[in-house]
Symmetry: C2
Subunit: 83 residues, 2 copies
């Protein structure tokens, strides 16, 4: 078994309203920053032991499906690196 870090990034699907991101963008604009868009996402870095990187990615994807992401409103992606 090898130690891996799986990074799960959970984003709102396109078209789902994100008032937090909108507020953050407006606050940056009030500070004088120019930006065309801002999207917020949640990132989970999961340390786990697995036989290989594929198994680590599969388990992290299952965590996303079952708990970390809500499939109705979220997309997610998984990246795995050696810990």
């Amino acid at each position: 078994m090898t130690a891996y870090t799986a990074t799960v990034t959970v984003r709102l699907k396109r078209g789902v309203l994100d008032p937090e991101a909108e507020t953050t963008q407006q606050a940056l604009e009030r500070l004088g920053f120019e930006l065309s868009d801002l999207r917020a996402a949640d990132q989970f870095e999961v340390d786990l032991e697995a036989a290989d990187a594929d198994e680590a990615a599969d388990r992290a994807a299952e965590m996303a499906e079952r708990l970390l992401a809500n499939p109705t409103i979220h997309d997610y992606d998984v990246a795995v690196a050696d810990a």
Copy 2:
């Protein structure tokens, strides 16, 4: 001016308690997943126009310093890609 997407990832510094991450880890364990640690981070994807990638990174870092991150408890990093 070119369109870039700057990704700002804001993490709690080591040693800062993160009850949300702890609760998420416990919930995954209750579902039967085995993991050694879980850390949560906020990610902001900022679309902006800049002369080059370095300028885009500098402006995104300034956004992190001034609003997106709290330097007392957060570290952040910035990655820039063509939009």
